[in-house]
């Protein structure tokens, strides 16, 4: 097959499929409730039970306090229609217009953008920086 034709097919095919998926609503990130966030965490870390879970208001992320008090906080977040989870032992936190940006020093999951309300930003910042745990809205699961 001529290279030019192959290129047209590949670029055209990818573009058409991307457009079709987007226009039919396949780009919406997963929204989790408490139980789903808990399940998503345990799916990744079945040996790390949860003591407390703080779900973001938009349902796209949850902060995890593991039952093992010595373990670092964890984060589970929507990744397309699915989820990814990480412990936050080396995370760097910085505020941004949408909420908070977490840099994870992990080549396979470099950063997470958390869309948070203003009160949430303060709570999550405090939780992640270790200044406070067990805030009133943190739910036991």
């Amino acid at each position: 097959m001529p290279l030019e034709l192959l290129l047209i097919l590949v670029v055209g095919g990818i573009s058409a499929i991307a457009l079709l998926l987007h226009l039919t609503g396949r780009s919406t990130p997963r929204v989790m409730n408490d139980a789903q966030a808990r399940q998503a965490w345990l799916r990744q870390f079945p040996e790390s039970p949860i003591a407390d879970l703080t779900l973001a208001r938009d349902g796209h992320a949850a902060l995890i306090q593991p039952a093992d008090a010595a373990a670092p906080l964890g984060l589970v977040w929507s990744f397309g229609a699915d989820s990814v989870a990480r412990f936050l032992q080396e995370a760097e936190l910085s505020p941004c217009t949408q909420g908070l940006r977490l840099r994870l020093h992990d080549f396979s999951a470099p950063q997470v953008l958390l869309h948070l309300t203003k009160p949430e930003i303060e709570d999550w910042q405090a939780l992640i920086s270790g200044q406070a745990i067990n805030l009133p809205h943190a739910k036991e699961v």
Partner: protein
């Protein structure tokens, strides 16, 4: 100049790939079952596929040069009769089984293959989420015996291409089970779904390309279990749709592990060559420890397929 040439079936199949993906998506959308699609996941898979073809065009000369060197050496020439092509196809499928098994059991090779398992979806786009770095695994040496036995390099690559094209259609949830005789001999969507599972039961099973008989012969066959639905993706899922990160994340991880201070030479080598999950201090899990920990939590699974 060697005049023997065969068509590049992988490139020729591109229009069929695109049409089949659209067909599968429409089926899922209309029926409301049979799989899931997500825009960024699918686009990443498709870009990985395009990159894999580009990688083949750019780096293919290395494997080709190696095979032609062997072809110069070997005194054997089996020709290109129909029976020779069929025999080559079957032997190449055996070659595929072992390369695929190495791809899951040797981290250096896993670093190349991991991207194929990095989607949490399982649809026809996942089939195209192929490696960009296969040349660097040196798994071309596993094809050497075929060339030395007298199969022309062009024929060996031709049947390898057919093997890959066959595997495209088995990356789907839209097909449940094929007829019993077919499931017994051939690799099918059901068998390959199990291969893509991150459930402890399905780790390191069903390496077959076309014929599932290799897994049955070498003890790696695990049938898909209705009571244990396949959870697709990696044991430790990645959090990026960036194709560069998908393609290179495990290579970066190997480099970081090997260059840690305070390791012996053996430990550094094991970070590249031991099965994925090896760690010098035992702090990580391999397939074996994941299965063992699962059985400790769920003793009822002892002795069931995959355990």
């Amino acid at each position: 100049m060697d005049p023997l040439s065969f068509p590049d079936v992988t490139q020729l199949a591109v229009p069929i790939f695109i049409a089949a993906i659209l067909g599968e998506f429409l089926w899922i959308a209309l029926k409301g079952r049979g799989g899931r699609y997500e825009t960024r996941d699918a686009v990443t898979s498709l870009i990985m596929g395009a990159g894999s073809v580009a990688s083949g065009i750019l780096l293919g000369f290395i494997a080709w040069g190696f095979f032609m060197l062997l072809w110069e050496i070997t005194p054997l020439d089996l020709g290109t009769s129909v029976w020779v092509i069929i025999l080559c196809f079957v032997l190449d499928d055996l070659r595929y089984y072992w390369v695929h098994r190495f791809g899951h059991r040797i981290r250096w090779v896993w670093a190349s293959h991991v991207n194929h398992h990095s989607s949490q979806h399982y649809n026809l786009t996942t089939a195209l989420r192929q490696t960009w770095t296969g040349t660097f695994t040196f798994m071309m040496v596993v094809r050497a015996p075929l060339v030395l036995l007298g199969f022309h390099p062009a024929l060996v690559l031709f049947v390898g291409g057919i093997n890959l094209v066959y595997q495209f259609w088995i990356h789907t949830e839209a097909i449940g089970k094929m007829p019993r005789w077919f499931e017994a001999v051939m690799n099918t969507p059901s068998h390959h779904r199990a291969h893509h599972g991150r459930n402890p039961r399905y780790l390191d099973c069903n390496y077959a390309g076309v014929f599932i008989i290799w897994d049955k012969m070498f003890g790696t066959f695990v049938p898909e279990q209705d009571h244990d639905p396949v959870d697709y993706g990696l044991v430790y899922n990645i959090g990026s749709f960036n194709p560069l990160r998908v393609a290179f994340h495990e290579w970066v991880a190997i480099f970081r592990d090997m260059t840690q201070p305070g390791l012996s030479l053996k430990q550094r080598m094991l970070y590249a060559l031991a099965p994925p999950g090896y760690s010098h201090d035992g702090s990580r899990d391999t397939s074996e420890t994941i299965k063992a920990k699962h059985l400790a939590r769920s003793p009822k699974d002892v002795g069931t397929p995959g355990f």
